[in-house]
Symmetry: D2
Subunit: 426 residues, 4 copies
Amino acid sequence: MELDNAFKDSLIKLRRNLHAFPEQGFLEIRTANIVKENLTSLGYEIKSGLEVMNKDYLMGYPSEEAFKAHIDKLNQLNEALPDFKDGYTGIVATLDTNKPGPTIALRFDMDALPITESEDSNHYPTAHGFSSKNHGSMHACGHDVHTTIGIGLAKLLMDHKTELKGIIKLIFQPAEEGVRGAKSMVESGVVDDVDYFIGSHIGLNAKSNEIITSVKGFLASSKLDVEIQGVSSHAGAKPQDGKNALLAAATFVQQVYAIERHEQGASRVNVGTLQAGSGRNVIADKAYLQMEVRGENNIVNEFMIQRVYDIKSGIEAMFGVKINITKVGEAISIEPSENMEQTIYSLLKEKFPKLNIIPNETTPSGSEDATYYIDSVMRNGKDAIYMNIGSDHEYNHHHPKFDVKEHDMFNGISCMYEIVKLYNGN
Amino acid sequence: MELDNAFKDSLIKLRRNLHAFPEQGFLEIRTANIVKENLTSLGYEIKSGLEVMNKDYLMGYPSEEAFKAHIDKLNQLNEALPDFKDGYTGIVATLDTNKPGPTIALRFDMDALPITESEDSNHYPTAHGFSSKNHGSMHACGHDVHTTIGIGLAKLLMDHKTELKGIIKLIFQPAEEGVRGAKSMVESGVVDDVDYFIGSHIGLNAKSNEIITSVKGFLASSKLDVEIQGVSSHAGAKPQDGKNALLAAATFVQQVYAIERHEQGASRVNVGTLQAGSGRNVIADKAYLQMEVRGENNIVNEFMIQRVYDIKSGIEAMFGVKINITKVGEAISIEPSENMEQTIYSLLKEKFPKLNIIPNETTPSGSEDATYYIDSVMRNGKDAIYMNIGSDHEYNHHHPKFDVKEHDMFNGISCMYEIVKLYNGN
Amino acid sequence: MELDNAFKDSLIKLRRNLHAFPEQGFLEIRTANIVKENLTSLGYEIKSGLEVMNKDYLMGYPSEEAFKAHIDKLNQLNEALPDFKDGYTGIVATLDTNKPGPTIALRFDMDALPITESEDSNHYPTAHGFSSKNHGSMHACGHDVHTTIGIGLAKLLMDHKTELKGIIKLIFQPAEEGVRGAKSMVESGVVDDVDYFIGSHIGLNAKSNEIITSVKGFLASSKLDVEIQGVSSHAGAKPQDGKNALLAAATFVQQVYAIERHEQGASRVNVGTLQAGSGRNVIADKAYLQMEVRGENNIVNEFMIQRVYDIKSGIEAMFGVKINITKVGEAISIEPSENMEQTIYSLLKEKFPKLNIIPNETTPSGSEDATYYIDSVMRNGKDAIYMNIGSDHEYNHHHPKFDVKEHDMFNGISCMYEIVKLYNGN
Amino acid sequence: MELDNAFKDSLIKLRRNLHAFPEQGFLEIRTANIVKENLTSLGYEIKSGLEVMNKDYLMGYPSEEAFKAHIDKLNQLNEALPDFKDGYTGIVATLDTNKPGPTIALRFDMDALPITESEDSNHYPTAHGFSSKNHGSMHACGHDVHTTIGIGLAKLLMDHKTELKGIIKLIFQPAEEGVRGAKSMVESGVVDDVDYFIGSHIGLNAKSNEIITSVKGFLASSKLDVEIQGVSSHAGAKPQDGKNALLAAATFVQQVYAIERHEQGASRVNVGTLQAGSGRNVIADKAYLQMEVRGENNIVNEFMIQRVYDIKSGIEAMFGVKINITKVGEAISIEPSENMEQTIYSLLKEKFPKLNIIPNETTPSGSEDATYYIDSVMRNGKDAIYMNIGSDHEYNHHHPKFDVKEHDMFNGISCMYEIVKLYNGN
């Protein structure tokens, strides 16, 4: 399926609109309104908010202050943004053909990163006037493109509705960054009835016109916030009266980096930020750390978490401090469907002779919370896969100058359309 | 010498004026203008700024942003503040009797602390409407009272000029908090010609109507800012490419707390604040620590500093980071004049039978940069001492509810007047 | 090739003789004399000692005391042990058919472990009267069996000399434990002319009657001895005068366990022993650590070593100590010949239908210095492989009750004979 | 009182006899037999062993092996050593004048150190043939002299019995090194009836012919043995299965050196020895540490112990190990009698015009378990003091070449005789 130029132009316009106002996790209020408006007008049945998100599994939900600040910015836009101001920005748009057939679901993530976009004139979005107007936030991971692919695919499928059977679900997810949003959607049951599931990404070091049918090497990961509460004291006069939260934090850091290696696979650990103390001559009574662990599989990741909790107990006993650990994000490792990989690989090879179709990629890399959907679907005995749409990018994901070639999103739409046709075509 | 009530009332008014607009170190712009105006009108010869401060020995001088922010606040006051906007707020006011005699100097510090004053109605300054109007700064260590004592003493001495001989120098110093300001004044030579020097404080856990002739147990101390520069990297994908500034900082912290004890006296060490890293999944490339060391004497303090530098070198080699250490404050230990202690003790016992005169206090406590003047004068073979004016205070120094009984400052003025008369009376 | 019973009985006798007098690395004096005597009487050309070992690449060579103690024990045996008392116990026995053909080499290791063998009556060697008579040393890794296989194979090949072409080299190596002996033999050139190389082991959790054609997952590893030299001082009276080797060692240990993970593969680090200090109230002036690092490949292993040296530099700077690191063992990772794997797999499948032939095993496990031969041969463009002869063992390798089923060694001899015939048969 | 030359010669002979066979704590079997024999023959009433030692308060009692080895050595001496083979080597020799009067007690310690005496010919005991014949043990702290002073004083007092009143108790104590022996004697009640107590030492950097009436600056100290029990595992294959006792020990060490300073006085901490692990590639399952803490006073020492226990709990939780801490020695700080100091100072000034009598010495130095007697007596409202007999010594206490000038012991005997006469003279 080749897309026509007017459609392509509209999608480029949409992508640039989204790119210009990036919104971080659970704050995708404008973005979700745009998605809902588009999908509604196309005729999709929409479920959103707590219909498709389980509140008990929310992770890393922003503070009231963060909401207030973002809504203040939105108010200055003078746009009608009727929905989603509560931050439950998940959307499931369903096309029910009313013909018997399987249920297929595709997931698109919508959120941006806490990165300030480059104002350098050789940065394409800056040069073309669509760089971030939401200072401090940036679509530096391509989720603007993902959202656009989802909307583009929605249009194409609705245009060809008569050729389809079964049910097609398009899942628009908040807060993939920090792997926070997927679990609450999965736990609300959005993929319980799904026979085929496809997660996807753009870029990831694959070149333009490459499609990797199945990306496998995701690391399981947990994101933890650690608060240490000690007791302050004057460091000169009463050194023995403090419970030193800063020294406790330093020891905690030292110990988590020294967690044992595990025979069952690679692990990672990082304490990315640490804030402690109030004054030079005061024994610090508070420390706050943001950390993460990863494992080549869930067993290793769970081992890392268990060891972090052991260390927490040790630090509490050693320094007389209280430590509170909050899980603010989590992703798991997956074993996707080999059947689906082979089926789709053959399909794309045949349908897109000009593209470079690569069957799979297994190198361990980052983490993805699409793994929750995949794991859930596979446990039900159904098929799920995660594919990658290649696109040249000079700078890495999460770099202030990250940019993909936007026309590569058309490859994504075309491939996904053919895949849906394969499983849900009449 | 008993002070008359009108004079007392004017001093209380002045003290409350100063208390209501506390200014932190080197930012005592309004305060210094008030001091200069008062002393000038009394007929003192004024030297100030770089006449009495050696720029090469400034420590912990504020950033441009800090100056800008403070001057913005001052501009809103609509007061004429002609001088000191450069932050060189030191003042030496001289009364030259033109009669042969010794030179005596007394030092008063003017700066406030980065503490937000209590708004509790049982806090005396709040109840009486003179609590801090410079939010985030507070006279929580009594330097407002010190400045008032200096101005009150100036008036009394000028009123009795004919009874005096030699030269009297009143030194108003910036930035005693963080022990930053004294050294630059001493190094400009302000006490090079001094025969008798008196530093002083109010409170320090001595009760109202107590005077401690000589406080001895000051700890030598150095205040150090530590910046660690590493290299960031993605914690999941490229863990081996980072130079982890946060882990380096944690190890640094652990090592400085483990510095050896020293046979020649007590030591202290504290890392009071630590800020590191930019994101959870990024290996931190920057860390910033505020720390201090102390020693019962200068040898121990120097040992502590040397060990901090050893640790710096070790951390650099171990983690491949670069560390920059800046000295932002320093005080030394002292051996004040025993002669002067005994002379003054006898004088005050005789002149003030209703006060409780205590000869000395040797318990190691905090640090004071008046020690620089005392050390300099004693090295010249002259006499110097540090005295304490007792005053009941329910809360400790540096507490948001710290307050002394303001009438105790009259004891201070009276005692100092008698001491000046003793040495410089006709 | 089925072995006859008399031959089998003689091999069992030989194996039990070797088992009963285990000798640790470079001390295999009796063992090497037995090997040399057997191979010489069979008609092999023998090279040994510094003819086949390069002194510059010796690692972990024992101390003079260790030699003296072992030779004292040997003297009590009243056996003629004419050779090898210098500890250069490597032997290469060559069968030159004088017919054109390839050169094939097989390596057998001879050394034992510093483990005290179980005296429990349910331990087979104890029950059958051939457990270790060299107290404190034990063949707990099956090298007694390896040596026996080598001698058995030598006999079989010589018996069938006329059916062979080319050259067959049997390499008997000292000090595989601690991965110390191989490198010096490889660096003397013993496999420079080799076309096919086979390393092998017995046991390794494979069951009796299993043969694993190619074992691949060896971890590169380096064994390091670390000596820390500080300065002692009285801990009560002169704490500041010491250079604390024990605290330096403790910090070193913490830091090496916290070495970063590497994207290119799994790593391991262990400090297995630590001895420090001389008395409770003395600051320790000496510490001695035995450690090892491992990597899934040589890049990761080298990274670990580099980081250990960074930490060494850091500790030296931080504590004012001197650290000496000696490499006492090393093994590398390998990529063995896939051709040879497939060829041998097919051969064994055909020749030994009753055995369970498994093509390969890739799980990362321990380290092996046979990897040096394999790497050297593969770099020359020739073929090399490491095979495993399964044998039930209730207890793990290196356990005081470790024992294999000794009859499984006949599978090893038979398989190796067929492999030699395949490459070097007329 | 001037001693006659024959008496002096006999004491020198006795001292050299004791010096030549030094015995460590609780192993003073030969020494105690010599003491008992001498005192019995002088006519003293003897109590010993469990009559004067409370078994519940023994600390650092040697192992069976240590006893066996020492008794083997004693057996080779061919001396009659009828008593003390159980190691309860404490002796109290009493002279009851049967005249009303106070009870005075003097304490002498008998044990040697685990030091190998210098064989250098310029070392006086070596040059004069009385250096240690008990290899590995040495009287490097002068307790041989102390014991001799005690026996010499006993003779003098008995010779002058008729001039005395009240009761004189001479306490010969085991195991002062490691501050192990005193507490069990005090807890058996040996000073419960005492009105005046005198502890003493020779040397301690005071010169020959100096007497320091009262030594005050003893540090409270506790000696702790720390055993860590973990779980071993293969470091390459099963890194996650170990509970790493060596890493736990390293972290423990790091943390105890980082224990906070205390406002109430100086502290010390030292881990003097650390032994951990069994093999390079095995995760260590055992670690053993010998450590000590000290405090300028008992409050600070108790604080240090409490923090060690906090750290123990932390390490256990963090690493899953079990830690056992045993107190193997303890001394306290003291506030001796000022009255007694002044009385004795005046006495000695008068009686010994040729000696340099120094009233007191307050510098914090080492630890002494005579403090237990002093504390007990002072708590009963009686008087106690610790005096020092000066004696030039080129090398420090505990050095393999330590030696005092033996004739200075006569000053000790003379002074103590006069003191006893002062309090217990008719």
